[in-house]
């Protein structure tokens, strides 16, 4: 038992040490970073943070952009996925197998390979540099997982329930609105969290669709701070950006970990 605890500590150190190092770096002056072991008087500073927040546009703008994309994607995906998942849960088993295979292979697909075509679409429709438009490809990329999770939880509901509601004279919309959708709320919650995290973190499509500085999402903005040269990365400012960008996710993981865990495992198991 004691051994188990030691190993767990080891795992925690491995998972958290790089994050702590970022946090430590973000409070250091450049001199302190160059001489990490020497005893310097001006080791600690908040300058990295003030620099980030006072830059133009302020770093908070990127946090806001990512939040906008995350929320609009979650909303759009659920709007399309819930009715679709309901109808998938009603298909005959033979066809349902093929649908699931298609959804699963779409979920496995390394979507990076799609960026060029998506960029062409964005240019043709003139929807680049628009945060809300970004949620269209994002919600498509999240659709397979959302459909798998939601349709399997629709299927888990007892058939008699819907039958009874139908006999009571409720039409399809009323049955969905008042009976079925409230009952799959747990699955909807975990799907939403996973969609939000994906959209918050997505990089290649945001990188190619958004070019205006004030519209960048957080991951792209952070990679821009770093610039392109290995030697010129302003690590202090960058680490501060990491910390600010990680706090929302830290909160999400701690608050919603049950939903995340059930979403990820059900997504894998049902598929």
């Amino acid at each position: 038992m004691n051994n188990t605890r030691n190993y767990l500590c080891l795992i925690l150190i491995w998972s958290l040490a790089p994050i702590f190092w970022q946090a430590y770096t973000s409070f250091c002056t450049p001199e302190a970073l160059i001489y990490p072991l020497k005893n310097i008087s001006n080791r600690w500073t908040l300058e990295n943070y003030t620099l980030l927040l006072s830059s133009n546009p302020s770093f908070l703008r990127y946090l806001l952009n990512s939040t906008i994309v995350g929320i609009s994607t979650t909303f759009l995906t659920l709007l399309l996925a819930i009715p679709a998942a309901y109808s998938i849960s009603k298909i005959k088993p033979i066809i349902a197998g093929w649908v699931r295979l298609f959804l699963l292979s779409a979920a496995l697909f390394p979507y990076v390979l799609l960026f060029l075509s998506l960029l062409e679409i964005a240019r043709a429709l003139n929807i680049g540099n628009n945060l809300f438009a970004l949620s269209i490809p994002y919600s498509a990329l999240n659709m397979p997982l959302a459909l798998l999770l939601l349709s399997s939880s629709f299927k888990d509901l007892p058939i008699d329930l819907e039958e009874a509601a139908r006999l009571e004279g409720l039409n399809l919309w009323q049955r969905l609105r008042w009976i079925l959708i409230p009952l799959i709320a747990p699955a909807t919650a975990s799907t939403s969290i996973l969609i939000f995290i994906f959209s918050w973190n997505e990089y290649p499509i945001a990188l190619t669709w958004i070019s205006k500085t004030e519209l960048l999402t957080l991951p792209v903005a952070i990679s821009r701070i770093a610039g392109s040269s290995v030697y010129s990365v302003p690590y202090g400012a960058y680490a501060a950006a990491t910390v600010l960008g990680s706090i929302p996710l830290l909160l999400i993981v701690i608050i919603f970990q049950k939903q995340i865990v059930s979403g990820l495992t059900k997504g894998a198991v049902k598929g």
């Binding site: 998972s15 399309l80 060029l116 991951p219 990679s223 990680s246």
Partner: protein, 289 residues
């Protein structure tokens, strides 16, 4: 007809997943680059001939495969160990699980830069530890033979929690009675792992490995931010190569060819992998009780 309800979602899926594949197939037999003034002109499969003779593409393919296979196998082994640990009755298990999940939830670009700073010479912490231990410091990020290992470390750090979670879900479906019965029959704990745990985990392992293999094969963020494909192209992945072709060399025809080719090669790799797991009888032998 309730199937109408699924049309909007299906339409979106077709636009985002199928349309690009057709578009790439079509572009891959056309020239469309700065030279043609971005006009799309048929070029009799010249892109494909170029691809077969393109040493850089095949090097990148092997590097991508090396990255994917080594990171997924390390992740799988670590994940099984972590899942076995978390499957014990542990105090504050939820907190531990949440904290181990954190690397998975953070944006890849963010921690790719974090790792770049950690491996930085001469100021990064790894270098400091080496100095402290009076060891010869190695400059892992600028050594063409070693740089790929640093990308594997970054990937293992980030995605092991994901696999561990799936394996843990699998472990929790195995009833304790099975182990009890095995023990009463005189089986040793170590044998129980190979004869009960692994065979019953097989579906979970399969799905986790296939999923991770496909994702690792399309690795882009991590490498673009952490090494930029360098040093000397030694960490460049096929996704990065096709990105460079499209966005830097503005050769859309050839970029599409690379994407289609990588897609075909990936499917091939997945089928091989699935075949290996499904035929590994020795490893997954069901125990006869």
């Amino acid at each position: 007809m309730i199937y109408i309800l699924s049309f909007p979602a299906a339409f979106l899926l077709v636009i985002v997943f199928l349309l690009p594949l057709f578009r790439y197939s079509w572009l891959s037999i056309h020239a469309s680059s700065v030279i043609t003034g971005l006009e799309v002109i048929p070029n009799n499969g010249a892109n494909w001939f170029r691809l077969f003779n393109d040493e850089r593409f095949w090097t990148d393919y092997m590097q991508t495969l090396r990255f994917a296979v080594s990171s997924v196998s390390v992740e799988l082994i670590l994940a099984i160990l972590i899942a076995l640990l978390l499957n014990h009755r542990v105090r504050s298990k939820d907190l531990v699980r949440a904290l181990t999940l954190l690397p998975w939830a953070l944006p890849t670009t963010v921690m790719a830069l974090g790792w770049r700073w950690i491996f930085n010479t001469p100021y990064g912490p790894i270098e400091q530890i080496f100095k402290f231990l009076k060891l010869e410091p190695i400059n892992i990020l600028s050594d063409p033979n070693l740089a790929w290992i640093s990308t594997v470390i970054g990937d293992v750090w980030k995605t092991t929690p994901f696999i561990a979670l799936i394996i843990l879900a699998g472990l929790q479906t195995i009833p304790d009675d099975l182990y009890e019965a095995f023990r009463l029959e005189g089986g040793k704990p170590k044998q129980a792992f190979f004869r009960i745990t692994l065979p019953l985990l097989k579906p979970y392992i399969t799905i986790a490995v296939l999923f991770r293999l496909a994702q690792a094969f399309g690795v882009f963020d991590l490498i673009q931010v952490m090494t930029g494909g360098g040093p000397a192209g030694s960490t460049e992945s096929v996704a990065l190569y096709s990105y460079l072709n499209a966005m830097r060399y503005l050769d859309f025809g050839y970029s599409s060819t690379i994407m289609i080719a990588s897609f075909i090669l990936l499917m091939f790799a997945c089928v091989v992998c699935w075949f290996i797991i499904y035929n590994s009888k020795r490893l997954f032998q069901k125990s006869k009780l």
